[in-house]
Subunit: 313 residues, 2 copies
């Protein structure tokens, strides 16, 4: 049987063991395991990396623990504006959305943009008009109401801060976390895929777009090199075109996936103040989960490797 | 005196000599010359590449001949939704906007995003809220009404086509043109800058975002390599991360600007069906203006080279 593999993340940041209760830690690990399992089941049966990535991200979007889908943070206006992107490494097709509200699974809407339009990237009201035209799954505001996220917004508003990150248990515990979920996979047909989904920043204003829906920045897949999904302070990831940079270092400089990831995440990003990490898989099934923060919710599993779940350094 | 240079474009496409009247050709050449002159005057006096790029693009945005600013095409809903991006090669800072209406000069709004916010990319209503907060120059719908653009929309609606390109004299003459304007420059301080501005596609729906405001796709600048501004069918430019690809081929593979541009525009883009071109300048002042279509409105001038203005192959 040919090799397959999948890796996922649920955000990076100042995630310290001292800040998570045993119960919370268990909840996160269970959520990551369920998402990996959902994706791996597809790959194991000979399904596509695109299906595995979408399915794993749907699991994370449906879980209020993560800042994507149901758990998306509140904007300054008390709304949820979500971004997502998916890319097929086989033919470099891709679809992305930014600033969509009330969409249950933005990752699936991204896939519809890729497969059902001649476009790559749709935004705001227009993207939601498209979602209606294809009968996407909508949910009302109640579905997206998560008390912890609402409390975060109130705290952010009190200090008039635009919060680039979000926390697990509120700000008071000092935890800093970049809320995004993502997945990358290699299927037995040799095809790579990557996807990313996020609720952005608590208290964000001005229709800010982060790196998640930007092809080459937060998300990239190319069968000749690798598939990448990023999480971090998006502005720095956009300026560094992080995902495509890893791919170019492999393709043009002949670096291994590990070498390329280490240069981009632990050297280049650090130099400009970029905090976060990424999950990556190459065309041979090698998996890397680099980050330059205290922690990153992450997991991986392949046809030759046991399940790994990590939270801290 | 140290070297400086500037190059601009006003869109690429099926621009054939047989399709342009002598008078129209003169008008285009005059507009390109005026824009180059405005930018070069700044560089010649020791000004920054960022100022030169912004000024040249403002000239093109204010001219109804080009699909940006005043001449922006109509969306399906009869509105003008514009995108723009600017990048500073000195420190890799950048600013971009998508889906903004009634903004006289989107390139200047992009620059304000770069210089006055902690963000990189703002969209739609949010971006316009930001514009209001900094007293950007707004214009009413009348300012953006150009009869020729309105006629294009009616024709596009009649055939229910989402037009990826726009024409000079309407569709009937068969001309296909990707409407975007852009500029790149090197100043005597050794700093590179790039900018791009567009009105998108006639009859566009769903808040479609093209490559122009995407850092790495339509616009990129890095002092260690080059500055790039693209024009073409944006979806292919996004998938290929065109601008950063040229930069990576130079940085990681050691190619010259010309070699990198030729590979990306005349080989890689052609293979996936990407039509268009770009203007590029490297840190030594070399300028390239490659395109894979019948023509591209373009011009260049440097401290060591005379003015060049081109339209056809």
């Amino acid at each position: 049987m040919k090799k397959y593999g999948i890796a996922i993340h649920g955000g990076a940041g100042t995630i310290l063991k001292s800040l998570l209760t045993t119960e919370k830690e268990f909840e996160y690990k269970k959520a990551l395991e369920d998402a990996i399992h959902a994706g791996e089941t597809i790959l194991n049966k000979g399904g596509t990396s695109l299906d595995a990535v979408e399915k794993a991200i749907i699991c994370l979007e449906n879980n209020p623990l993560f800042n994507a889908g149901k758990g998306a943070v509140f904007t300054n206006k008390g709304k949820h504006e979500m971004d997502a992107c998916i890319m097929n490494g086989k033919d470099l097709t891709t679809g992305a959305v930014t600033g969509v509200s009330n969409i249950k699974n933005p990752i699936s809407l991204s896939r519809a943009v890729m497969e059902k339009t001649e476009h790559v990237f749709l935004s705001g009201e227009g993207a939601m008009d498209f979602a209606k035209s294809i009968n996407s799954n909508f949910e009302n505001d109640d579905y997206f109401f998560v008390q912890m996220r609402y409390d975060q917004l109130q705290k952010a508003k009190e200090t008039d801060s635009i919060i680039l990150d979000h926390t697990v248990d509120g700000f008071e515990n000092g935890e800093k976390k970049f809320g995004t979920v993502g997945a990358v996979a290699l299927d037995i047909h040799g095809n790579l895929a990557a996807g990313t989904s996020t609720g952005g920043m608590t208290n964000k204003k001005f229709g800010r777009v982060g790196d998640s829906p930007i092809v080459g920045a937060g998300t990239y897949a190319n069968n000749t090199t690798c598939a990448i999904s990023c999480t971090g302070n998006g502005e720095f990831f956009i300026r560094s075109i992080v995902a495509y940079d890893v791919s170019c270092l492999m393709e043009y400089k002949g670096l291994s996936l590990k070498e390329a990831c280490d240069i981009v995440v632990k050297d280049k990003l650090v130099k400009i103040g970029g905090e976060g990490g990424l999950v990556a898989i190459d065309s041979k099934g090698n998996i890397e989960l680099p980050f330059n923060t205290e922690g990153m919710y992450r997991a991986k599993k392949s046809s030759t490797e046991e399940l790994f779940i990590g939270i801290y350094k």
